[in-house]
Point group: C2
Chain length 300, copies 2
């Protein structure tokens, strides 16, 4: 990673994820909190209409709208398509992004605690994530390379990008402790980027544990798509814990347990995320990987 000149912190890609929204508003009131000597930090409230409405989106999920071809006619555009183009125009100059790093704030009803999201195998962001895990042992890192988010999410406007997903928090609410913990992470990221620019970023102490997305499971449904089961009580809120073949996965509304049928242990995340019911996702499955990081420090 070469010198960082401009960092974007964005919240409200989903208009009902209030922690990110109120953090951006706080930083707008107190810009000194995000100022660092060697780079500029800019702020974005992404889905402004959804934020005003208090909903995830108006027409469609903004975080799936960043790979729409530019030549689509305005008439065919949803509000979020239009807003994605506006955001791209604001932060890109033709093929070049005007920002170097995007920090993208999200909340989830799943019990993920503080989760960093890496959309690709960018060594710089892996090194940053390993540094944050050294500092905050509760932090977990989710690899979304195979989930599609490296192609269509808002974060794709920047060459280097990291998502912060916190939970469990009900959409439409602020959870004060997660608010504080998210701000602490942002502060540490900005400090790290400042150290990077000065060539003093500390090498990570440990290898990086990555929960790499390998697929998703939908709820049992009838032929009309109607839900027939909920996440099993033994699995609810157990994000990152081992799910072995035969373990309880769902409990039908008639109280029959449906077991996990996979071939090998997996580590579910985003268990019972409210916004994923309509996407046909009861949880995302990950495999746990350990990545050595030390060799990736040449960028400094």
């Amino acid at each position: 990673m070469s010198k960082i000149n401009r960092v974007l912190i964005t919240g409200g890609t989903h208009g009902n994820e209030l922690i990110g929204i109120y953090l951006i508003k706080k930083f707008k009131r107190h810009p000194k909190l995000i100022e660092r000597p060697s780079f500029e930090t800019v702020l974005l409230l992404a889905n402004t209409q959804a934020i005003a409405a208090g909903t995830r989106y108006v027409d469609e999920d903004l975080n799936r709208c960043f790979n729409v071809p530019k030549n689509q006619t305005a008439k065919a555009l949803s509000y979020e398509n239009w807003r994605a183009n506006e955001i791209k125009a604001e932060f890109s100059t033709s093929e070049q992004s005007s920002i170097d790093v995007c920090i993208d704030l999200h909340g989830t009803t799943a019990n993920v605690g503080r989760m960093l999201i890496l959309d690709n195998s960018d060594p710089a962001m892996q090194t940053l994530a390993a540094h944050l895990c050294d500092r905050y042992p509760d932090v977990r890192v989710y690899g979304s390379t195979h989930s599609g988010r490296h192609q269509d999410s808002l974060r794709t406007i920047a060459p280097h990008r990291i998502g912060i997903e916190v939970g469990a928090v009900s959409h439409g609410t602020v959870h004060a402790e997660l608010f504080q913990q998210t701000e602490a992470l942002i502060e540490s990221i900005l400090d790290y980027l400042e150290q990077h620019n000065r060539g003093t970023a500390p090498p990570p102490k440990n290898s990086l544990t990555l929960y790499q997305y390998v697929g998703a499971i939908d709820y049992p449904r009838d032929h009309q798509g109607e839900l027939l089961a909920a996440v099993h009580p033994q699995l609810q809120f157990k994000d990152y814990e081992t799910l072995r073949p035969g373990d309880p996965l769902f409990l039908t509304f008639d109280y029959r347990t449906i077991a996990y049928q996979g071939d090998m242990p997996v580590y579910p995340v985003f268990i019972n995320e409210a916004a994923y019911y309509e996407k046909g996702i009861a949880m995302c499955l990950t495999q746990k990987q350990s990545l050595p990081i030390a060799y990736q420090l040449e960028g400094r």
Copy 2:
């Protein structure tokens, strides 16, 4: 309470409170579960358009629409006003309700566990609530007489009514354990009403502890109504616990603690309910009352 002839179980007054909705759908598939020899049980999915949309409401809160004058012109009606009239027409014959008891299912993002809601001082429902508390020591009873719900809620269509509010559950999700616990409560209520009709309802063993609504507190906001604080971490999820003058109430986004300024201890409920942000309610305050119940058994 004279003989019960017809009981209404209703879910989806709020279209994103999924536990009630999927319980009603389950009972429609398995009507034997709610059949009792001495009375008829009928089912209602209340806010059908909001249920389809997965939102709390379409135009306004259906559970505040049941005191609108009947002579309002159709043009001025919101969807929920219209739907309220439709529901009233379905279950009323002029001034008479065709149902004797309404069991109304709700979910909340607040940590209320299993909460019964009594909108007035109906001795029959107080006796039922005391019976349920005997059977399920986790159950708490909230008195909403002074909150307005005895005038404008869907439950007002029945002479006897009881709300079941369960949480913490994120809107738009099912929580399997709370689903089971809600069904168990409904089963016990129907069993009790059957015993009532037979004259074999057991007398409550204990007096009734009632958390009686005495007021509500809004979040600290700026002059534009913008949120400035969240529920304090020490209060989050602490529904029914004693809040004393001077105890932490809110944490501002700048991390200043705002203490409770009241004159006497209160017992907050609906702490950090997502749907109440727009209503200007951070939590409802209650006073704890102990009601003797034994003398109210003459109805049997």
